[in-house]
């Protein structure tokens, strides 16, 4: 199986009042295509920073990041924006839907950057929303949806362009147990049925258990690989 993500000797530090604050220390990780990786670790361990760098919304201080065949560390901001639109789908903890847009319009947002016709966009949005089980909520605004439904719209938005990689930052962190289960089942389905490579950051061992690989970060260091069988936690 080909490598979807290859991170080599990645270092990231931030400047805080002229002080260098190290966040990631010489991290290397490979993720194969179709993999479902969970990144775990305490707050401040650098898991979200690693996810952001893989997703091309943050830049490394040092190291090489190859994602979907592109060395994204060398891309300009504009090129990176185009690359993200084509290759990465994002799922956030707080859904981050645009409140003035309906579920349909939210899912359509990334498609507006493509050359698809209106009819093609409509088909793709409807497909994505039906896939997440919201075919009957297309014209609802976010405030008319429950948290779980909002997150499902966010997932539909993430998959609407059929990206190579899905990145999810605490996708169940703001949901009740039932909704969280639904979301995890959906992610699992996207991974298994549709072969999507997923990288998920989570605090929740129960959520991490749904991933096929779990890696732990501690103070910016990536711990040894531990493989979990589904339902092992």
């Amino acid at each position: 199986m080909a490598t979807a993500i290859s991170v080599q000797n990645l270092t990231k530090s931030y400047k805080r009042d002229k002080m260098e604050v190290p966040v990631l220390n010489n991290v290397s990780i490979d993720v194969e295509e179709g993999e479902f990786l969970a990144l775990m670790g305490p707050s401040g361990s650098g898991k979200t920073t690693l996810l952001n760098i893989i997703a091309g919304i943050d830049t490394p201080t040092q190291g090489r990041v190859m994602v979907a065949g592109t060395d994204i560390a060398g891309l300009s901001e504009t090129a990176l924006a185009k690359w993200r639109a084509r290759h990465v789908g994002f799922i956030f903890q707080f859904y981050n839907l645009i409140p003035v847009l309906t579920a349909f319009e939210n899912v359509e947002l990334p498609l507006l950057l493509t050359d698809l016709s209106k009819a093609e966009r409509k088909t793709q949005v409807e497909t994505a929303l039906k896939l997440v089980g919201l075919g009957d909520r297309m014209h609802h605004s976010p405030k008319q949806l429950s948290g779980g439904q909002e997150q499902r719209v966010a997932i539909a938005r993430a998959i609407a362009t059929d990206p190579d990689i899905l990145v999810a930052d605490e996708p169940t962190g703001d949901l009740d147990r039932t909704s969280a289960e639904e979301i995890l089942t959906l992610l699992e389905r996207l991974n298994k049925e549709f072969g999507k490579t997923i990288v998920m950051v989570t605090h929740d061992p129960h959520a991490a258990n749904r991933a096929r690989i779990v890696r732990h970060l501690e103070k910016g260091d990536l711990m040894e690989e531990s493989k979990f069988m589904q339902g092992a936690v």
């Binding site: 084509r86 003035v100 319009e105 947002l109 507006l112």
Partner: protein
Amino acid sequence: MKMLKFVFKNALRHKLRAFLTVIGIAIAVLAFGLLRTVVTAWNAGVEASAADRLVTRQAVSFIFPLPYAYKDQISQIEGVEKVSFLNWFGGTYIDKNQFFARMAVDAETIFDVYPEFVMDPGQKATFLKERNSAVIGASLAKQYKLKIGDVMPIEGDIYPGKWEFVVRGIYQPRDKTVDASQMFFHWNYLNERMRTDMPERAGDVGWYSIKIKDPSRSAEISSKVDGLFKNSRAETKTETERAFQQSFLAGTSSILTALDIMSFVIIGIIMLVLGNTMIMSARERTREYAVLKTIGYSGRHLMMFIAGEAMVIAFLGAGLGLLLLMPSVAGFEAAMPKGWFPVFNIANSTFIMAGSAALVVGLLSALFPLRRALKTSIVEGLRFVG
């Protein structure tokens, strides 16, 4: 185009705030339009001046008359096409509050020199035949419900006595910049009365209006006219009609400048109102902009969204303001004493200026929030808690 809907939805996201901002801009545009209209009306005489007309007046002051005999001499100057003259009459029609220009004119030439007063040939012929006839502007006729054959009694002040004029013509203004609220009658009629009642004032005219063949020769012809009467008992000052009209405004130039400045201060206020709204909106949406950037929207897209949103609000406000301007100008005109501003129209330039101001204000008010949106990294934006 496909993102326009998003721009509109964002612009009207906070309905009350958007409404108040639009109203604020509309009121400012309305005030701007009213001020510009007053400034335009004040300058109407200057703007309506013909390039091919010179005005010759007494060199000491406009209030002193010139001899009628100058007419033939001026006509002899090479380059002069036609010479006419006018004489301020004053007087009271109905009561002292009814103000409009009443002038004794050279009936034979006045409409040749002032083609902007459009006369029916039949009415003109009747006017020329009858000594006590008068021609009035269409708006004056409308204001006083005067029609052909009506008698206008006027109590003289500069020229004492009771005067009666029969309306024999109603002139139409050639365009909306022409004053249609004047009254003209035969200077000969006035002069005959002067000969008998005040002989020392007979043969005097107020000023000459000279139509020239080539406007580029106005300075040269003006010098020739003034040269003719140098060292005479009534030396002359000849200037273009525009300069003549401007000399009337000289005393009020500081008021006009103040009005001008105020109208542009209003533009500044609009900018602050909209800028404030845009800054608040953009700040609240820091996280959304980060999400959009994450999805793949570039700085160019954000610029389009933020500037577009500012434009929508600016143009809604400007449109509403201009819409309200028309009835407001009409109301303002109706509320003012008649004759203050004979020409009181919203100039096309006012519409253009208000539209351009909305465009510029929209763009400028978007600059600061746009800069902020572009400078904020995605990671910072996603962490933003508004």
